[in-house]
Subunit: 374 residues, 2 copies
């Protein structure tokens, strides 16, 4: 008995897009889905109720950050991450792999695991595939990730191959260490950089280990968009139809559409929340830097087509004022809007899959929004 | 026809406390009332809906800040402050007097008005009593304040007397300039420092001018609490029973109770919102610095007696984590709680007035909360 179950509802006629339902211990999720990122046990600036209002059924939280602060033991004492942050819908935790490898000179990789220094206080830590599972078990997310090495881009074939082999050994160790399989589903992560044969091999060998879901990692790390789409397209060909596929850390509007077309079911990205806090919003006609002067006297919503709380109640002029005055409400209103924009986009994508009109949806979206490599 | 009407519902038997209803163009307000401060057209970290949920029927906003940014002309174009910030209940604007005088060497006072430099960009401005009314008319708050000089403390008798005379001349000029009397009620501000005869004279001469309400200004600026209470007590004796009295900038829990006992109906203070953002909350057993280490593993609400959203849904441990991690939600949750704490305190005070038990209420409150000069 696994913690989650993926029902493939429908395949789109003209693309590899899939409509599905992901059943988790904390509710069902229609896929394809975008997961807002709650790095430190909170989606920045949002309450759980606001997340529900924008239509979020699953969020992501970061193991690396929670391990360092407040610590997984404390969250376990609180009754787990759901209870700690008062979120009763599904949660996915990453493995910390990407964060730890992003530390650069502050970390050292061995067969056993990774030694690194905390970005908060410089303290020394050692994470192994087993330790990461122990932490993720303590946090108690519905979906958890294997510890992986996220190779840099560009990297030569030999490096990426060794890194992939290490990731595969770590996936096995993590799977063996995972005890709470009935409440938490452990995903394997496909690595292999931008090398087709490595991606294929990694996918096949992970599928042989039989995980309840598969992630595609190591992308959106500097490579060209078309190369990323190619790797995604290739990788999903080797993943089973009856398991969910998650493209890690990807989430611009264009990337979501292109990812779905290539058979991806789940996405996460800090983009909508991060740019919101800096005064940039996503609208049906493209990005808008609402904090800029041209919007000072625009008494219209951020996006006239949007149904979010922000667009129903406040003008660009007011939101721009809040940004100029460094008011917390600015970040709140822009975050609500950007997350709602992406959940509405995913609703539109799912509807288009139902009608076998995803390519029309895409061309109409790009025509209005503009396709930008962002 | 004036914009507001004050109905005195009941006088408490043992004190000068008054139960009343203040009718405004944007709804009725039960008094005594605490008004949350929304300096820059937003109560920091809060939405209008959240303010309603904590029971706020009137908020204060600052003319000085809005004049400088985004400018009263822009807010007028937006349809006024209510519409600009999407708040359909009552608003009171101060006159900017206190803010301008707080600028110290950056301002110069003459009979005509005050020249000062903006704290934002150093630009030069000149405010007169007439200009302030023009600005407040553009903002469109239900209750507006005369431009006054807020004398420093301590200040010698001669200075304070001259300052009071200037404030009286400016009150007259403001009253003559005020055009929108049917939608906006202009209050006179009693000054006079800590000199009994000056307070009495200022009150009497303002009452002769017949304002729809009276403010007590220039207090809580460094004087001893007992001296402040004495001045309030003395001043309210010279104010009419059929008009509301507003004690400006005062709002610690103890000050609210002591002010009500001395006949005050309205209060405002940045204290609850400001300390909230710094990680300090008001509870039935006193102040709590929730960001401090002792609360790291307390899986209980900020205040077990509180009915606010924060206390119903989140633990001290979680809120402490949010503060340590510099998360926006920390400020939000603490602000909601502190404002609800004060609106609940005012509800308790009003109930105690009804029952003629305000002094018992006070002693019970102090016994639990502790009386602190804060």
């Amino acid at each position: 008995m696994t913690a989650i179950k993926y029902d493939l509802v429908k395949k789109e006629k003209n693309t590899k897009a899939r409509l599905g339902v992901l059943h988790t211990p904390h509710g069902d999720i229609e896929t394809p889905v975008f997961m807002p990122v709650g790095t430190q046990a909170t989606v920045k600036a949002m309450t759980p109720e606001e997340l529900k209002e924008i239509g979020a059924n699953i969020i992501l939280s970061n193991t690396y950050h929670l391990y360092l602060r407040p610590g997984h033991e404390l969250i376990k004492k609180a009754g787990g991450l759901h209870k700690f942050m008062n979120w009763d819908r599904a949660i996915l935790t990453d493995s910390g792999g990407f964060q730890v490898f992003s530390l650069g000179p502050l970390r050292k990789i061995t067969e056993e695991g990774v030694e690194f220094r905390s970005h908060i206080d410089g303290s020394k830590h050692f994470l192994t595939p087993e330790k990461v599972i122990e932490i993720e078990n303590a946090l108690g997310a519905d979906i958890i990730m294997s510890f992986d090495e996220c190779a840099p881009y560009p990297a030569d074939y030999g490096y990426v191959k060794n890194s992939m082999e290490l990731t595969l050994r770590w996936a096995r160790r993590g799977k063996d260490a995972h005890k709470n399989t009935e409440r938490q589903a452990l995903f394997g992560i496909v690595q292999g950089g931008t090398y087709d044969d490595l991606r294929k091999e990694c996918a096949n060998r992970l599928v042989d280990m039989d995980f309840p879901g598969y992630s595609i990692g190591g992308l959106s790390v500097g490579e060209e968009k078309q190369l990323m789409y190619h790797v995604v397209d290739l990788t999903t060909d080797f993943l089973p139809q009856d398991k969910p596929r998650y493209l890690m850390g990807v989430g611009s509007p264009g990337d979501l559409i292109e990812g779905v077309i290539r058979g991806v079911d789940m996405f996460d990205c800090v983009l909508p929340t991060r740019i919101a806090r800096n005064g940039t919003v996503l609208t049906s006609t493209g990005r808008l830097i609402v904090r800029d002067a041209p919007h000072a006297e625009e008494f219209i919503p951020l996006d006239s087509e949007c149904d979010c709380y922000t667009c129903k109640n406040f003008s660009r002029a007011y939101i721009r004022h809040l940004f100029k005055a460094n008011e917390i409400l600015a970040a709140r209103l822009a975050t609500i809007h950007n997350l709602r924009f992406l959940t509405r986009l995913m609703e539109g994508i799912r509807e288009a899959i139902k009608q076998d009109k995803l390519l029309e949806f895409k061309s109409q979206f790009y025509k209005k929004y503009g396709y930008k490599e962002e």
